[in-house]
Amino acid sequence: MSTYLNRVAVIERPDGGISITKFSVDDMQRYGYSDEDAFIAWYMDRINPGTAFTVVPETDVPTDRSQRNQWSLKGSKVEVDPVKVAAHQQKEAQKNALLNKLKISPEEAKLLKEI
């Protein structure tokens, strides 16, 4: 089991989502780095060349992933974004209204997806 640095890098994607990269201590040693900042900069350029990122403490990332797709970077913290939550809820409401109109329960909708 790997151990990780206590900071992560956050990229704000054009689609509105955020990508969070965790850095392994093993990788830092494997690639010959002793300085965390230098390693993070090198690694981010390796996997996302030329993409801007923000380093934040891992403690500033929510541990509850139930609303993972509604997270945003606010300053130096990753938080559940009320705007994204509202947009998501609105989409769900639209979906449920449509299902209701079609007289299809959520369970039946799931079954339809599987079929």
Binding site: M1, S2, Y4, R13, G17, I18, S19, I20, T21, K22, F23, S24, D26, D27, R30, Y43, R46, I47, E58, V61, T63, R65, R68, N69, K110, K113, E114
Partner: protein, 280 residues
Amino acid sequence: MVYTKQWDETKPAGSRALSLGDDDIREFKTAIRERLQGGGMYFPSTNDDNAGLFNWIKFIEQSSNPTQEANRGFLFTKDISSVTELFWMDSSGNVFQLTTAGKFLLTNLGGWQARGDLIRGSATGWERYALGTSGKILKSDGTDAVWGDNIQAATQAQMEAASATDVYVSPGRTQYHPGVAKAWIVFNGTGSPAVTASHNMDSSITDHGTGEYTVSFTTDFSSAAYALAGFSTESSALSNCFVTSTTDSVAGTKRITVVKHDGTLTDGTAISLVAYGDQA
């Protein structure tokens, strides 16, 4: 050995009575037998078929080598460091010491030539076998022990060609064979994603959202043309999930998604990936 009869070549004296001649003859016989026995000859006082054979041969230490003679050889002893050692001198006058301090002197067996020489049995007897060139190994050709080429580790090119049958696969190059997985990983995508075990994959991992991750190869593939197989479990009762991707592969990383049976993305509890292809 203590002799019972003295060796006296003045006896019998010319004035000795003839009637005592029988005593002199018996004494003479005994004196001869005792001396031959002292030299190692089997010589009983009564008739015996083995009379004249030797029990052993006792040598007197020589202070120098014998004088060479044509068509003759000499087995003799000399003192070497206060030990009586056995020597042989052939008809050409070559002298070989055969023993040393209680052992055979092997340096003279076949003739000492050079450091690293071996003694090898040939069709006609023991012979000197000179040290082979560096890196050679001693092996059998079915008849003789001979120096031969060591079995070589397959090169990267040989591993990639996957056709050679006269080289061995070494641990450090196994991964170059096209039939061998180049990388694999198992990680937990729930909570804060973390790698459980892996080979040739970074433990650093990127979380893009629910059920979406990017993993990185430690040694990149030579191109995006590699095969990836994946499997995942998740915490719900219907636990088997598909691992798929919505982006093109790149040589150094792979973005994947974990999809439940109903088509929604989910955080896998144990996401495993295996990759095959040609490495850079």
